[in-house]
């Protein structure tokens, strides 16, 4: 049974975001969008999480933190980069302290661009990530022939 896609728990990390995307991520939990309908819960603990949602770009301060959090999430796990800063660092790309998007440090499965990303597109990105999550689980248990969908750069 694939319980995994019915109960994805999210860990949300604000890398160096301006809080715009973070407010939109939290808006998904509000009565208007109510992602708990799909069993999605916001957890504060990497050891309980399945989906790692990162907003903002990588800088010197948060590089090790992101790597550390990613390593603490038990397999199978997916990473969703929310907002243009997380996908490619956006307008901050040339800044002296910014290294780039999240994929410089950890493998990203779904990119949700936008400044700020709309709650609808965040939900859409997470639902896309669930398909990848299921593929990863089948790879992990070794019985899946189903191929993992290829990563789409900047899609």
């Amino acid at each position: 049974m694939n319980y995994l896609t019915r109960s994805p728990w999210i860990l949300h990390y604000d890398a160096s975001s301006c809080n715009g995307c973070d407010i939109e991520v939290l808006a998904c939990l509000s009565p208007l969008y109510d992602v708990e309908r799909f069993g999605i819960l916001n957890t504060g603990n990497p050891k309980h999480a399945d989906v790692f949602v990162v907003t903002g770009g990588i800088n010197e301060q948060n590089r090790d933190v992101i790597k550390n959090i990613y390593d603490q999430i038990p397999n199978p796990k997916v990473v969703v980069a929310v907002g243009i800063c997380a996908t490619s660092a956006g307008v901050f790309r040339e800044c002296y302290n910014i290294e780039g998007g999240i994929d410089k440090i950890i493998p990203v499965d779904v990119y949700v661009p936008g400044c700020a990303a709309r709650p609808e597109s965040i939900i859409d990105g997470i639902v896309k990530a669930l398909g990848i999550l299921e593929g990863k689980r089948e790879m992990m248990t070794g019985k899946g022939e189903k191929s993992v969908p290829a990563r789409k750069e900047g899609a």
């Binding site: 049974m1 009565p31 309908r37 038990p74 199978p76």
Partner: protein, 286 residues
């Protein structure tokens, strides 16, 4: 009526009932907040998912403590539904939670450590009231055996209204509901990360969740004893009590551990002890 069969029935059906109660709880909570809420079977999906995940173990002794927690919760619940000695049940129940606390202590995470200490404080807070409830039931029915209490024709609730209200108060602590949800940070995200459950992942977390379902069914059975003279009234009382707990969960902000400990003991003292003293006086004790 109460025998080994009800105990076996409890072991087999309690996770089912507990999971459904948790699902209804989540839907009612969502409706109170103006949301649609998850499907009814969501708690089962969650536990199924946790068994599919990698079991990340911080220290090997964690596995032992969590398995012991689950086993002793099931044992104390099974003893209860087999109609055994109430005192034995209460102490087996406490022992189960001590295993959970040891599991929290066994990891090196400071969040888990503080969560374990808060869990100990919660045990200190609710334990006197549960023992007073057992003593009250003994005073009315003349026995510590659950079987004898349940088959007693005395309406316990009429003799023990104070004890019942005090028990509802500690039930809020036991169900990990909002004003006293200190050790697991179930609703308050990121205050203590996840408190005592911080360092449990995958199947260990699933076992904690299943143990919680067993525990909830046992506690609802405890409410049943107060109304055992009439089964329809008992079922209505259980539903009403659980609804009140959800309402409290959604209307009160969380309190500090000092307030939890103080209020639990004051209410146990005021409602429980006074109730028992009156009962003792009326039954011609003095």
């Amino acid at each position: 009526m109460i025998s080994i069969w009800t105990a076996l029935l409890y072991i087999a059906l309690a996770p089912l009932v507990g999971g459904l109660v948790a699902g209804i709880d989540r839907i009612v909570t969502a409706r109170m907040q103006g949301r649609v809420g998850p499907p009814l079977l969501q708690p089962f999906y969650d536990v199924g998912k946790l068994f599919e995940k990698e079991n990340l173990v911080v220290t090997a002794s964690q596995n032992f403590y969590i398995l012991s927690y689950l086993v002793f919760i099931v044992v104390s619940g099974a003893l209860f539904f087999a109609g055994e000695d109430m005192l034995l049940i209460i102490f087996a129940f406490t022992l189960a939670h001590i295993f959970l606390v040891l599991g929290g202590y066994s990891s090196n995470s400071p969040y888990s450590f503080i969560g374990a200490e808060r869990e100990l404080i919660q045990i200190i807070a609710y334990e006197p009231m549960i023992i007073l409830a057992a003593v009250g039931m003994y005073m009315v029915s003349g026995s510590f055996y659950v079987g004898a209490i349940a088959s007693s024709q005395n309406p316990l609730i009429l003799y023990l209204p104070g004890v019942f209200l005090g028990f509802l108060m500690v039930l809020t602590i036991k169900l990990r509901k909002s004003p006293f949800d200190l050790s697991t940070s179930h609703h308050a995200h990121q205050e203590l990360v996840k408190g005592i459950t911080t360092d449990f992942a995958g199947s260990n977390l699933a076992k904690i969740e299943i143990a919680h379902w067993y525990e909830n069914v046992f506690l609802l059975g405890f409410i049943f004893l107060f109304f055992a003279f009439s089964i329809p009234i008992a079922i209505a009382a259980i539903i009403l009590a659980y609804f009140v707990e959800i309402l409290i969960d959604n209307t009160f902000s969380r309190v500090k551990w000092q307030f939890t400990l103080r209020s639990a003991w004051i209410i146990a003292g005021m409602l429980g002890l006074v109730n028992l003293a009156v009962l003792y006086y009326l039954s011609g004790g003095l």
